[in-house]
Symmetry: C2
Subunit: 201 residues, 2 copies
DNA sequence: TGTACATCAGTGAACGCGCGTTCACTGATGTAC
DNA sequence: TGTACATCAGTGAACGCGCGTTCACTGATGTAC
């Protein structure tokens, strides 16, 4: 998990990269220890040396993808000063991540109920708390200043994340052909409309 | 799949009911043929007689749950005359279904990337097309009358389904404690705000 | 600088378990004459 | 109405495969003196 030698880090990196590749190309069903070791060129024992179990590897991969996505969103928000531009930047950052890191985005969405995260829930919760806390901190003064509608925090999150997550899901599953460019153009504004304070209040 | 004798229907029902119960209590990992047959009291061979494979059973269960959820939404929309009341009714119907049919809602959300639906994609697509077509038909005159913002169909869907699906997911996973009553109170209006035409246009 | 030693990293054959599936069979139901 | 027969429904022992995991081992790296 925390290699003490340089070459350890390289091996961990190879395994995680191969795992993501395997998941993207073979799906949940093909996501197995043997497939990952074969794709990575790393031995089975080495995988267990670094991750302890296959669930451990999956959880590490999930955590890494989650951190990448969250960092992108936090960055977007931090560069913005007004609530409107902040929300718009966050939405665009999420959708851009989905395209540019398609495999990571897919893995994040698909792992939600997979079960291999159960044993590592605390670790993941910590990442989410940290990153979403940063976004919440950015929002707080705006909420207090009445620049957002007076909604409970979780509902603001749901109104922002819901449409973009649903857009990403549809694009990733390619069942519905959703136009991501169009979504990137329209959604930021529409989402902001659901959050802004009532004009006549 | 389509039993020719009465008792066949009863067996199918027992299997589907037991399968949903197993999934709800044991999750993806515990969702196996043996667990389902044990919970249902039906023999293994009988399961294969009716569903052909375990994936077949899972797909049938998914389809049944999907139909139930969709019917609830279509009903809600059909009882409404204005776009605003229609959207509000649809949102409330979805959230009510999530509470009242918790296990079915969980199975629907969790099955998205599970892989056992791959072989039955066409069947599922047909159900979705039918039901969402009904909702789209309800919407069309309102869109043409300019009572919705001029958005592409898929984006309207995403703006409606996104926040409620995300709310349901968080409530179902009970990682975040979201208040469903509060959501039912606030979300319909907020979602409508994201869809309604720009007041100053 | 060289040597000894502890620790970290990497290897792959072997194992057991439980999964989905098959199959030969019995019993129940519906139908034809 | 009774009998023969085809089909549907249900049973459970048995099978093979591939999964995650273990383990005894070798090799590489870093460190102490």
């Amino acid at each position: 998990m925390s290699p003490k030698q340089q070459r350890g880090e390289a091996t961990v990196e190879q395994l995680l990269t191969a795992a993501l590749r395997v998941y993207a190309s073979s799906g949940q069903q093909g996501f197995t220890v043997n497939a990952v070791t074969a794709a990575s060129g790393v031995s089975l024992g080495s995988l267990y040396h670094h991750f302890g179990s296959f669930d451990g590897l999956a959880a590490a991969l999930y955590t890494r993808c989650l951190e990448q996505l969250c960092d992108v969103m936090v960055d977007a928000v931090r560069r913005s000063r007004t609530p409107r531009t902040g929300i718009r930047a966050l939405v665009k950052a999420y959708l851009r991540f989905t395209v540019e890191q398609r495999d990571a985005a897919l893995f994040l969405h698909a792992s939600a109920y997979s079960g291999y995260l159960d044993g590592h829930a605390e670790e993941i919760r910590a990442v989410k708390e940290d990153r979403f806390g940063a976004i919440a901190a950015w929002m707080r003064p705006h909420i207090e200043a009445g620049e957002f509608a007076p909604l409970p925090g979780p509902l603001i999150e749901v109104l922002v994340m819901g449409p973009i997550a649903e857009t990403a899901r549809r694009w990733l599953s390619s069942t519905y052909d959703i136009d991501l460019n169009e979504a990137t153009r329209c959604l930021p504004d529409r989402i902001w409309r659901s959050l802004r304070p009532d004009p006549d209040e």
